[in-house]
Amino acid sequence: MMSHSRSPATPSILARLGASRIAHGDLGFLPVVFGLVVIALVFYNLTPVFLTPRNASNLVLQLGPLALLTMGMVLVLLIGEIDLSAGSVAGCAAVVLVVLLTRYGWPAVGAIPAALLFGCLAGLIQGSWVVFVRAPSFIVTLTGLLVFQGLQFLLLGEEVGALLIYDPFVKGIASTYMPHWLAWCFVGLTAIIALAAALTAPARNARRLLRLLLFPLVAAAIVAVLNLYFGVPYLLLLVIAVALALTLLTEHSLFGVHLLAVGGNAEAARRAGINVSNVRIRVFALCSTLAALAGIVAASRQYSVDSATGGGNLVLDSIAAAVIGGTSLFGGRGRIVGGLLGAVVIGSVSNGLDLLGQPAHIKTIITGLILLAAVSVDMLARRRRISSGAAGA
């Protein structure tokens, strides 16, 4: 994204992080990255286990469902709506999956698409309701939250307790690791793509090159650490693939521009000839499909489903993660990468507090305070942005 940098950008580390923009109150991902470093240091001091390859591996697996759910939430927030039903849809889709697998003996190849289709339909129905009845998405998806939660209980039936998964593929989604060489191949691929992008870029500047260099470096660091334990989980590959696809969709496609336009000024988008209803319904469908995927991953991690799958604070955590990652609740501003970083923040705090043996209520209090801190930093930065004449959405 080009900035309105009036001060000359120096090609230093600071410039790469956007020092020239900071003066105008455009903090980018700086607070999140800074927050992550602080979280890592604090927990490392309290319990050195936090920064071990084994815990990193656990963290990646724990993060899977939240990360997928958050990315869907970012999409919905981008168009200025909200989806409170995402957690229930995740849980319900997980139950659909396992009921088909275990009770009806479907193969994974049929049950997984069925669960995803269930999510897609849930989104289509809710999105259509928002568009055609013109009901606020808060209410429609609140209804969704309640209805799908009930449906989840209904599908589980009288049987109390968990419904187990026996299918090896589904069990493997969140518990298999790629061979070490394969992981390094992906790092190599990242490096080649970054190099190709650097060589073919029309405008070559130091900041852009350094940013491109960041991708293979981060990839190499993650692979190096995870290979010290069991290796890179395939789940991480899934999350990254979804993140890449959604980044292409939101930032490099016409649909992405239309999505931002609907979030920024729906009336202007409508008059420009964009089918606003269509965009909205698609986004709700996409979010719920991602929620279903999150549910499948959550079920795979537990090897089972129960009435609590997808429940609890999951959906609120995903909204918090999206906001921590810089997504505006008013629409039109936010990035998939930000949502991912926000999910890592919430995931690491939860993981760290688990390691310290803290109970759930302490976790929710601290997560809440972090959300408040993130929003406050953003509001202060925005005030600065306005006073420097760069209001932005």
Binding site: S3, H4, S253, L254, V257, G264, A272, G332
Partner: protein
Amino acid sequence: MPGADTLPLLEVRGVAKRFGSVEALRGVDLRVHAAEVVALLGDNGAGKSTLIKTISGVHQPDSGEILVLGKPVAIPSPRAASALGIETVYQDLALCDNLTVVQNLFLGRELHRFSRWPLHWVPARRRMVERATEVVRQLGTTLPSLHSQIGTMSGGQRQAIAVARAMVWGSRLVILDEPTAALGVEQTANVRRVIRNLRASGLGVILITHNMQDAFALADRIVVMRQGRAIAEMDPKVVTPDQVVGAITGGSAISMEP
């Protein structure tokens, strides 16, 4: 007067429009030539808005006809107006603050690289930037960058972007609704320059305004509307602002219509 003897770009003949018991337009005649700025003046409720909405395809006339380059046309929708080369810049501009200049200029009509689904989602960025650069230069307006979000820009710049958007599509006629309302002195000067450049590019311009100074500074002809009719056509080089005000309010020698 430019192109007075050539075929008018747009000709409105006896257009009438009624909303229930309200006669908004009672047979309006209007001509706009290429490279001509026509200022449309009138008090609130005189029918200016209804007239431009009829020309831009929002309303359908009950009677009368609209001709583009001498041919009678039907304008059933804003899309149809665009296809005829008629673009309207409404007062609220309809821009997205969170999008860049280029994204706003091409919103809803983006150039794309491939024609097949889903590859038509791939934007042809370079072509859009080239066209945008061309149009912005033609308008003689200065913007910080074509890639910065427009939420950061001034009212004058935003107005220029909205006009540029109308121009991107190779339009023949641009209708501007109160383009200088709510602008400062310097920004008003910039927007006036943009309008003069539009005319210099050979486009016809209908300028709806309450601002007498704008009308006299920019217009080749002033058309005054009152009670659903175009009651007077004046040459700004000949008349005085007082005479125009007289025509608008009906306080002049021109007789009151029933």
